[in-house]
């Protein structure tokens, strides 16, 4: 009781104090320089070298150090970053980028087109699976006619190519540090050198990562902040408390559990947004192994879809932080189609389908492998087990650790599990990989692990990716979405809505479609 009263008093005080300056300065806010922004890196990243590791926290911290050629707005419009201008030839085969002048690496060396060519042709081709796929399939040559220009020539049109230059797909790395070395063991990975607005000052493992203002940043007068701290707080409840107490200003989506989001959003000095995830638009799906019974039968898969109440999942398991998904392509990205086969929650229909399929459930018990990412995923597994048992399946939950999950899925040794992946702005980059029969490969949990194989779908995805005309691509994707939902290639559950919670005096933090991974050069504090 006393605590609540104290908090209320504090809240009132903050409100009262906050009102005075706001009233004094009016609605047009003038950005102010200086200040320290405290954030959380959860979990602690293994390294900050974005070219070698693209996990969430690496991008979050590394995005302040490294930059890409382009970035993307919240409507996925293409925006300049290290490239100030770009042109695409009419045949869709030649992409010409003009780079910013006077950009320097953190060690003072000039940034030139040679760095970009090295990044694209050598570094990422070796170290980055997604770029390697694009480079080997579509890119004919990468040239630098002068210090400020880079030209990519493609062997065939690829409509998604312009979306391949985002931070996690194409971070530009310094040639003078990496050329001729073993990229993965280069000691410079521990002392990252980028072109970004902040430089690594100190990384105290298990405690914090401290970045400081890059005085020679190429954008005049920026960045506005002096220092960034990424605190490392392994316990979820402590992270929530850190925000409440004010020792942390920003909580990135996933930093705290869903029910904490609701509570912390309600704090008087907090502001929230679900923007800033448009480029990634993660879609959560049920992955069923199509190679073996019972999921080799499309009627069983349809029954599963009818048996799951996606509204219930979003509301009660994920605390409202999502939208039920109706298609493989997220509604926040391009080419999403509404014209798909829908599976309303209907247990009777589900039971009818199971009966029609004549399944001998006892002979084919199902191993359900929860995604080992925390309690919400465990609850999801419990809910799904219950629902599937209701329609007559026999389900056994097999808990695994992250390594075990990745391995089982990569080796196709699973019956059913959950997964979610980023969409990267264009279906050719983030969606097609789950359905192309050429991607039925072992070794990654993010391919076509369920073993879906439909030549028509392959054709449609290739046609769409190669289309120069956007309408043509949209038509092909629409047909693909109809087929995929009809055959239940995956059981799409919901589109995640990640919430960024921040102190109400933090300005300009979420400005683009990559959200908090964007360089925080224009972020400022109104305090």
């Amino acid at each position: 009781m006393r605590d609540t009263t104290k908090r209320l008093l504090a809240a009132t005080a903050i409100l009262a104090l906050g009102l005075v300056p706001a009233a004094a300065q009016g609605s047009a806010e003038e950005p102010r320089a200086g200040g320290v922004l405290n954030m959380i890196a959860q979990p602690e990243p293994p390294m900050l070298m974005v070219g070698l590791n693209t996990q969430g926290p690496t991008l979050y911290v590394g995005g302040q150090i490294y930059q890409s050629l382009l970035t993307y707005g919240q409507n996925l419009e293409v925006l300049p970053s290290l490239a100030k201008a770009w042109t695409v030839s009419d045949d869709g085969l030649t992409y010409t980028f003009t780079l910013e002048d006077d950009v320097r690496w953190h060690d003072g060396e000039p940034f030139t087109s040679a760095d970009v060519v090295f990044t694209a042709d050598a570094f990422l081709r070796e170290a980055h699976p997604r770029w390697r796929h694009i480079a080997t399939t579509y890119v004919d040559s990468i040239e630098a006619p002068d210090e400020q220009t880079v030209v990519f020539r493609l062997s065939k049109p690829f409509s998604a190519f312009i979306y391949a230059f985002e931070l996690s797909s194409f971070p530009v790395v310094p040639r003078h540090i990496y050329e001729g070395t073993d990229y993965r063991t280069n000691p410079a990975n521990q002392t990252p050198i980028g072109t970004g607005p902040f430089k690594l000052q100190e990384w105290r493992r298990g405690s914090y990562i401290h970045l400081v203002r890059n005085e020679d940043y190429w954008k005049e007068g920026l960045p506005l902040l002096d220092e960034l701290y990424f605190r490392i707080i392994p316990d979820s409840a402590s992270r929530a408390v850190a925000f409440e107490r004010g020792s942390v200003d920003v909580l990135r989506g996933g930093d705290v559990e869903g029910f904490e989001v609701r509570r912390l959003s309600g704090l008087p000095d907090a502001q929230t947004t679900t923007e800033g995830w448009e480029m990634y638009s993660p879609v959560v799906f049920l992955q069923m192994n199509l190679r073996e019974p019972p999921f080799d039968d499309v009627r069983i898969r349809k029954a599963v879809m009818h048996a799951l109440d996606r509204d219930f999942i979003v509301e009660n398991v994920f605390f409202g932080l999502g939208e039920p998904a109706t298609s493989p392509i997220a509604s926040t990205t391009r080419f999403h189609s509404e014209d798909t086969v829908a599976y309303p929650y209907d247990l009777d229909e589900a039971k009818r389908l199971v009966e029609e399929a004549g399944l001998d459930a006892q002979a084919h018990p199902v191993r359900l492998m929860p995604l080992p990412y925390g309690s919400q995923w465990d609850r999801l597994a419990e809910y799904v087990k219950q629902q599937l048992e209701d329609i007559g399946l026999v389900v056994d939950i097999r808990g695994v650790d992250p390594g075990g999950w990745s391995q089982a899925l990569s080796e196709w040794d699973f019956d059913v599990t959950f997964n979610f992946t980023y969409q990267y702005g264009d279906p050719a980059l983030g969606v097609a990989r789950h359905y192309l029969s050429s991607n039925i490969i072992k070794g990654t949990p993010f391919g076509n692990n369920q073993g879906y194989d439909n030549p028509r779908v392959d054709e449609l995805f290739l046609e769409a990716a190669g289309a120069v005309d956007l309408q043509e691509a949209a038509d092909a994707y629409a047909e693909a979405q109809t087929i995929l939902t009809d055959e239940v290639a995956l059981g799409w559950l919901f589109e995640m809505r990640n919430v960024t919670i921040m102190r109400d005096d933090v300005r300009n933090l979420v400005r683009t479609g990559i959200g908090v991974n964007e360089a925080m050069d224009e972020v400022w504090l109104d305090r």
Partner: protein
């Protein structure tokens, strides 16, 4: 004085027995009281307790009935407590009896083996075993049994060491009874009281260990257990206290009851303590 009257002299033990009896009754009646699967969503999620008579203890985040979970969890807790203790007692009695009766090199060897297990922190070892054998009811029982037999072995060895030099044992040797026969028909019955007392207390420890394992997410994911309920609810303690408090109370009461009963058994069975409360 009869055993029952001795036992009844300890008020705490009687209270413990009443609580334990209630828990056993609930566990036995769970399928009748709550015929529905305790994992099933039956009501509105996060319903507070004492508001809706259908769900006297409220519902959890998926709308599962907490009361049903506690009733079905009692079955799991008691089952794991009893079975794992029986296994541990079997191992402990076997090794302890052989070591204490035969003595010599074999005794040394068996005791060093026992000490080897005693030097490893029990709970850490249980976690390790369950993680290696993947969590299931069998692996949990096995893990608890493996970490809890050494004290029994040492106790039984001590009893056997003292009893084997008694006259009745020597008499049995003289009339030509075989070693195993002497061990199990002469000495063991006389060593039973401390074993029963130790075993009853081990049931409580086993229930606690199972709850801790489930709390850490290493329980059998297909069985409702108290530890699991708390583990799942703990992060929401501030929003929905009833989800963790009721299963917590269930563990507390059950373990307390078993300890009280164990204490009562000890008082009643140990002749040295008979005058303690008089």
């Amino acid at each position: 004085m009869s055993f029952l009257r001795l036992f009844a002299r300890n008020k705490g033990a009687v209270i413990g027995l009443v609580i334990l009896g209630t828990v056993v009754a609930i566990a036995a009646a769970a399928p009748l009281l709550y015929p529905e699967d305790p994992w099933r969503s039956v009501g509105r999620p996060l319903l507070p307790p004492f508001e809706n008579l259908r769900f006297p203890l409220g519902t959890d985040m998926l709308g599962r009935d907490i009361a049903a979970g506690i009733a079905h969890g009692a079955r799991v807790s008691l089952l794991i407590g009893l079975v794992s203790t029986s296994v541990a007692v079997l191992i402990g009695v076997g090794l302890g009896a052989v070591a204490g009766f035969l003595g010599g090199r074999l005794d040394d060897l068996l005791m060093r083996f026992t000490e080897f297990f005693q030097t490893i922190p029990a709970f850490a070892m249980a976690i390790l075993l369950v993680a290696i054998f993947t969590p299931s009811i069998a692996s949990i029982i096995l893990a608890i049994a493996v970490v809890s037999w050494p004290p029994v072995a040492r106790l039984v060895r001590g009893e056997f060491l003292t009893l084997r030099s008694r006259e009745f044992v020597q008499a049995a040797v003289v009339i030509g009874q075989s070693g195993p026969r002497i061990m199990f028909s002469q000495i063991l019955p006389n060593a039973m009281s401390p074993i029963i007392v130790a075993g009853s207390l081990m049931v409580a420890t086993a229930i606690l260990t199972e709850s801790s394992l489930s709390f850490l997410g290493l329980g059998d994911r297909n069985m409702m257990s108290w530890g699991f309920m708390i583990g799942a609810a703990r992060t929401m303690l501030r929003d929905a206290w009833w989800m963790s408090v009721f299963p917590g109370l269930a563990i507390l009461l059950t373990v307390l009851a078993i300890n009280l009963v164990g204490e009562g058994l000890n008082d009643a069975m140990n002749p040295h303590l008979r005058g303690r409360r008089a």
